[in-house]
């Protein structure tokens, strides 16, 4: 596709359950980012991949959060033992991966609601 895609668009789960959120970046983009946007706030950084490896995971809030990108394209954000405070919009972005000042292009997000 032409842009970043994310699935599902909405996810409702119960407290304590496990969820996976998927991101498909722009073709050829080697850099991929995950952000979390809570209601009324700006997005907050979670993790950054360059290729298959997590180059910076300093934004992950705790060890319940984990992300993978095994083939350097699609990425999956995994949340274990979900809590109500995890409810937010999870945004994925990608960029060509050539330099640190390049533009990041965002997907439409996955809206997660933990009941």
């Amino acid at each position: 596709g032409a842009g970043v895609s994310q699935t599902p668009s909405n996810k409702v789960t119960e407290k304590g359950k496990y969820v996976e959120l998927r991101c498909d970046p722009i073709s050829g983009h080697t850099a991929l980012y995950w952000y979390r946007q809570s209601l009324g706030q700006g997005p907050e950084f979670l993790i950054y991949f360059q290729g298959t490896g997590a180059a910076d995971d300093s934004g992950l809030p705790n060890d319940r959060f984990f992300a993978v990108r095994p083939e350097g394209s699609v990425s999956t954000l995994k949340i274990q033992r979900t809590e109500r405070g995890d409810s937010a919009v999870y945004l994925c972005a990608s960029s060509p991966g050539q330099g640190y000042q390049e533009t990041q292009y965002f997907g439409p997000g996955t809206r997660l609601l933990v009941l």
């Binding site: 952000y35 706030q41 907050e44 910076d56 640190y100 439409p108």
Partner: protein, 114 residues
């Protein structure tokens, strides 16, 4: 310490009037500054960025922004607002060094009144 601030939660402007959405930053070294727009239930759309060079940056949909180093500001402007410009606007910065991620302001809701 806050890296980027948007002092106004809400800006209202009449259609056809010029608009300004304010952003100030606080980073060491050379800042890399961005503006994004978010429409309801949609992701962030890139408008423009300042990396180096001319202080006046032109972007998408007729928007521009002026980088002012002495005032540490990067205000978003448009000469004539449209009702369709109504949206949530975010200023963001890359902190430099080894950082690659964007650090966002809290956002400004722009409403253009017909």
């Amino acid at each position: 310490a806050q890296s980027v601030a948007q002092p106004e939660d809400q800006v209202n402007v009449a259609e056809g009037n010029p608009l300004t959405v304010k952003c100030t930053y606080s980073v060491s070294g050379n800042p890399y500054l961005f503006w994004y727009v978010q429409y309801p239930n949609r992701g962030l759309q890139f408008l423009l960025k300042y990396i180096t060079g001319d202080n006046l940056v032109k972007g998408s949909y007729g928007f521009e922004a002026e980088f002012n180093k002495s005032q540490t500001s990067f205000h978003l402007k448009k000469p004539s607002a449209l009702v369709s410009d109504s949206a949530l606007y975010f200023c963001a910065v890359i902190l430099g060094g080894s950082a690659r991620q964007l650090t966002f302001g809290s956002g400004t809701q722009l409403t253009v009144l017909p």
